[in-house]
């Protein structure tokens, strides 16, 4: 599970980290030499097992944000619905937000349970070609809290990747919690061998959010995760009565577009604040099919198309074999 042994000294960087055996916390640790030699860095055997499992999955996309509540799960849900609207494609959503799983509600699957089959856990199906896995399906009541420290969360993520019967998939979308911590390191590590197409980064327009998102971009660069692009969510609110636009979350430093220009990243587009998006999520319905003519739906479709283009371009240049 975790690479930090239970009897490790405080600040142990983890036996598989680059700092293993070298950080100041390692001084005096009886295993310092072993760590410094690099021997324990042999990868977790699960990584290879996951690679085998993922052979049938064409594209793997992470949805990330340094900041919470910017709409990662909402976007993941719309992306999944949008991709699955092509009935010839098989789409799956994996929720690795262990402490705050939102996908079951957003997809109208609250109270569903996961079934065990011969080939592993069966995901829950929203539609014939759209399946979902979330820790929410393993909890018995909406009051249940998952009070887990890192290593237990990592174990769960490993199981989600290795032990779920995903079947043949065109797209696997992974929705993540905010931050740059255990869940993010684990998902990137476990999928390192299988290969991730890239990450879609979600932000809101304010600097308070962008400053966290810049950290997430650093994280992607550190772990060599390609960035598909950045989406600016909650971008402006059009009053349904007088049609005037208000910047509820003002882009005081130029918003996501300026940040993308500064960091030379693709800017995928803006999605406006629309009360109907939140309502569809609360009711577990697809916003794209509920309000197909809204400006927000048009924005989603444009962004989803860019992501599709990215993925098909990538499979042409990288080949589908891996």
């Amino acid at each position: 599970m975790s690479d930090v042994p239970s009897n490790a000294p405080e600040h142990c960087p983890g036996t598989a980290s680059e700092q293993a055996g070298k950080s100041s916390a390692c001084a005096g640790c009886p295993n310092q030499k072993i760590c410094a030699s690099g021997a324990p860095k042999a990868p977790d055997p699960a990584i290879e097992e996951i690679k085998e499992k993922m052979v049938t999955v064409k594209h793997k996309i992470l949805v990330l944000s340094g900041k919470g509540g910017v709409g990662k799960s909402t976007f993941s849900t719309q992306l999944a619905h949008g991709l699955a609207s092509d009935v010839s494609k098989e789409v799956a959503l994996l929720d690795v937000d262990i402490c705050g799983p939102s996908l079951p509600r957003m997809l109208g699957l609250e109270g569903e349970q996961v079934h065990q089959s011969g080939s592993g856990w069966s995901p829950v199906y929203v539609e014939d070609n759209l399946s979902v896995m979330s820790i929410g399906f393993l909890l018995s009541s909406p009051d249940d809290a998952v009070i887990w420290r890192g290593p237990k969360k990592n174990g769960m993520i490993k199981q989600f990747l290795r032990d779920v019967d995903w079947g043949e998939l065109d797209y696997l979308i992974v929705d993540t919690p905010p931050g740059t911590s255990d869940e993010h390191l684990s998902i990137v590590q476990y999928l390192s061998s299988a290969g991730i197409d890239g990450a879609v980064i979600i932000t809101t327009p304010q600097e308070v959010s962008l400053q966290d998102v810049r950290k997430e971009i650093r994280f992607c660069q550190k772990v060599k995760l390609p960035i598909i692009g950045v989406v600016e969510n909650m971008s402006g609110f059009v009053c349904p009565k007088c049609k005037n636009t208000s910047q509820i979350f003002p882009p005081t430093t130029g918003g996501a577009e300026k940040m993308c220009a500064d960091l030379s990243l693709p800017f995928l587009g803006r999605v406006p604040l629309d009360p109907r998006i939140g309502r569809s999520c609360d009711e577990g319905r697809s916003f794209l099919s509920q309000e197909p003519d809204s400006p927000a739906a048009a924005a989603y479709h444009r962004i989803i198309q860019s992501i599709k283009d990215y993925c098909s371009h990538r499979s042409r240049t990288h080949g589908n074999a891996d």
Partner: protein
């Protein structure tokens, strides 16, 4: 007792310690922490803020303190004072990073160790209230901060939610977390509750309405009040301005002030 005073260390002269929690991210924990601190100061209290959101520290920007150097004294790290009267002190992980865009990519055990130090090694001095701003979730940071504060003192938690079911669902789990670990819930705040269009005064419930109050009833927790979506508030925290001083006539100010009065009454009575 003298002995127990010595044991309390840097929190010995802190009267009340309050956690600001939410299962959900981006509901306004840091904004609420900042505004509650400013409102307490407005009420003549000495206030400290401890920002334990290691992966996304927001408070330094919201209070416009920039990136000052943190100094050490005999009794620990000296917090950064927001004003010359030293009535509002702040300690954040943001101060310890070399580059503000650096990602803190740490797994649990390392975060746990730093939080232990944060809680016990800051020389807060005399404070009426210490507010602890947390990251979303129910994981390492929360367990560590509660474990460490318990040794000293911990009055309880203020829970922040937005009205929609997707958010109250997560906060419902956070309430279970509080009950499981025996942490008193001082009350629930419903943030981003309704938006009044500045052009036509029409109120839109962008993130629904009433979910926080319903959750408080459902779980038997005190309800502290609703705070509306207010572009003046979001631009104040963006630019590090004191909203409480700038807009004392606004409905948002009244809402925040009511919350603070309710918290002070409940803590200072007991």
């Amino acid at each position: 007792m003298d002995l127990s005073d010595a044991d309390q260390g840097s929190l010995a002269e802190v009267k009340h310690v309050i956690l600001v929690l939410s299962g959900k991210g981006g509901v306004g924990k840091s904004t609420m922490t900042t505004e509650i601190a400013l409102a307490l100061r407005h009420a003549g209290k000495k206030v400290g803020i401890l920002d334990v959101d290691l992966c996304g520290p927001s408070i330094p920007r919201m209070l416009c303190v920039g990136r000052p150097e943190v100094h050490q004294c005999d009794s620990g790290w000296v917090p950064v004072y927001v004003d010359s009267s030293k009535s509002l002190a702040l300690m954040s992980i943001g101060f310890l990073l070399e580059n503000p865009d650096d990602a803190v990519v740490w797994r649990g055990p390392k975060k746990t160790a730093l939080i232990g130090q944060f809680v016990s090694d800051v020389a807060w001095g005399e404070l009426d209230y210490l507010l602890v701003d947390t990251p979303p979730g129910t994981s390492d940071e929360h367990l560590s901060v509660v474990e460490n504060l318990r040794k000293h003192k911990l009055d309880g938690a203020i829970l922040v939610t937005t009205p929609q079911a997707v958010s109250t669902g997560d906060v419902r789990r956070e309430i279970t977390f509080c009950k499981k670990i025996g942490l008193r819930i001082l009350g629930l705040v419903e943030n981003m509750s309704g938006f009044v269009c500045p052009h036509c005064s029409e109120c839109s419930n962008i993130f629904s309405k009433g979910g926080g109050e319903d959750l408080a009833k459902l779980t038997g927790s005190p309800f502290l009040g609703c705070v509306p979506l207010d572009p003046q508030l979001s631009s104040s925290v963006e630019n590090g301005k004191d909203f409480i001083q700038a807009f004392p006539e606004s409905a948002t100010f009244a809402a925040i002030n009511n919350i603070v009065q309710a918290v002070m009454t409940s803590l200072e009575a007991s």
